[in-house]
């Protein structure tokens, strides 16, 4: 059921730009797709039981790395973008080992501080990063020729839309494959019973670092995409609040199933853009939704069908017993 649904949605997404009434809505969908990848990759890290708040920092690293590689080292965007992802993953790998040894809340705290250190580095290392003002005039992705006929030079938002769509599909496929593989099973086992997993030969530290590294690759890549899309980057672009929003998308959508964060990111990015009052009260609405989810629907939006089913079966059982 899921694969065909996904197929239908993908086809819809491919034709969507032709239906949208203006570049603003294209922009909204680009943001949505970026957020979907961010929320889903955050969930991968979470799968191992570690609540990471480093995503903002990772995105910043990816954004700056790509901008600098293209503007100072003269690389093509198409080379810089994957390298940014790899750089980010490498940094995650290096800090991952000491971080991952910390328990639960302490891990979260150091990841918060990691993001802050990234921001401070970007602010202070003026010679490299342009300081608090950031980098402007980041060039568009190099023009590309598809199948020899289509010429894409990224002068319009629609072209960025399709790039974002491609990135999102590839990312989701990778994340899904990892989750369904033995790696995913090991991560879930580690989250449930760390010592037990160790006792059967699973290097739990190594797997947690793996989740953290792979999960941080995606904000690196998407940071690169974003900085060339907006053509600017500054230290506060992906602040603590930004990371919090991603966490909100993931939590409201539901962490248990793979598509929870996709749903959460989609709904919470699009809804405020189509409803003016919602946008005006966005922080309050988000806070209220968050609280409602935690108290009443802990499994998130994706868990609602299951909840309804459970209530129905309980109801029917009650009626049958009566």
């Amino acid at each position: 059921m899921i694969p065909s649904l996904a197929g239908i949605v993908t086809i819809c997404l491919c034709v969507l730009p032709l239906l949208l009434s203006g570049p603003y809505y294209v922009h909204v969908f680009i943001l949505t797709m970026v957020n979907i990848v961010l929320a889903s990759s955050l969930r991968l890290i979470n799968l191992s039981g570690q609540m990471s708040l480093a995503h903002g920092g990772m995105m910043t690293i990816g954004a700056y790395t790509s901008a600098l590689l293209v503007m100072k080292a003269g690389l093509s965007f198409w080379v810089a973008m994957p390298i940014s992802g790899l750089c980010t993953a490498l940094i995650a790998y290096v800090v991952g080992y000491p971080f991952v040894r910390l328990k639960g809340i302490y891990f979260s705290i150091v990841t918060i501080f990691f993001s802050e250190v990234v921001v401070l580095t970007a602010q202070q290392w003026q010679s490299l990063t342009g300081g608090a003002a950031g980098i402007f005039g980041i060039p568009r992705p190099n023009p590309v020729s598809l199948f020899g006929i289509l010429h894409v030079d990224f002068s319009s938002k629609v072209e960025f839309y399709y790039l974002a769509l491609a990135l999102m599909l590839i990312s989701l496929i990778i994340l899904y494959a990892v989750e369904k593989s033995r790696i995913g099973m090991v991560l879930r086992g580690v989250q449930q019973a760390d010592s037990l997993a160790e006792s059967v030969g699973i290097d739990t530290t190594g797997f947690k670092v793996l989740a953290f590294t792979v999960g941080s690759f995606f904000p690196g890549v998407l940071g690169a995409f974003y900085s060339h899309y907006i053509s600017a980057v500054n230290p506060d672009a992906f602040s603590f609040l930004f990371t919090i929003y991603i966490l909100i998308y993931m939590t409201v959508g539901g962490e248990k199933g793979f598509f929870g964060p996709v749903l959460g990111a989609a709904v919470l990015t699009i809804l405020p853009e189509v409803s003016r009052p919602l946008k005006a009260f966005e922080p309050f609405v988000f806070a209220a939704v968050l609280i409602a989810v935690i108290f009443f629907v802990p499994e998130g939006m994706a868990g609602i069908p299951q909840m309804v089913r459970r209530v129905k079966t309980a109801h029917e059982k009650g009626a049958a017993d009566a």
């Binding site: 918060i112 250190v117 806070a287």
Partner: protein
Amino acid sequence: METTALAQSVLNGLALSGIYILIALGLTLVMSIMGIVQVAHGEIYMIGAYSVYYVVAVLGGNFFLGIVVSTLFVGGLGVLLERLCFRPFRGRADRAFTISIALILILQNVVLALAGGNPRSFSSPFSGVVHLLGVAISWKRLVIVLVGLGLLVGLFLFIKLTRTGQAMLAISQEREGAALQGMNIDRVSATAMFLGCGLAAVAGGFIGSLFSISPTMGSFALMKGIAVIILGGLGSIPGAVVGGLILGLVDGVLPALTTTHIAGLVGFAAIIMILIFRPQGIGGHEG
């Protein structure tokens, strides 16, 4: 560098230390006793600052009255939050964390709606200089250091002498074991929140007397608090004092000795090193 300037820098540093220690102590009390990452701690600090502002600038009250009122108000708010938001999720750190996030959004935006986004300021009654050992130093900052010290001593005595205080210390060092010894977790958690939020409120009031306040000032406090806790030791209450002392002095003295540019780098370069080589900090255990 001449003595007066050095002394003033040291005092600046100590005043900042006092404030950082208050923030970090509050945060680590809540973290190690309730086992949650209270990321809205910065917002609590901000509300403390605004409460003092309200008493001093709007009601025309005395600065110390403002501090006391703010402490009681914010401490009470903390107790309320513990009862309503955190107690239902005791043991579920991930859900409590989500509640904290919701609190950030709510608290920040309520204050934004009520008070507007423009920075405000109020004056501390302690303007001017006092002469100590032949050096002219800022009265305001000296008061902060003295009051901060007093609060530290008070907290230390509370932990040493009262049963709740002892329970707090035990729980902060070994959460699971202490719970089994039949301590009244409800009361200890409420006390931890009251003290933690109260300390943050005092810190907010102090910062407000030195600089200005705004609804977004909370993130500064959260990041400083986290930096102190990481430096001084995750889960360590004495570590928060040591870490706050070091960071405050670095932030206060280094800009006077070198350019600000380098001072900021030194501060967090040290912390990066700590993060990579000894993430549990100077005095902390691994959690």
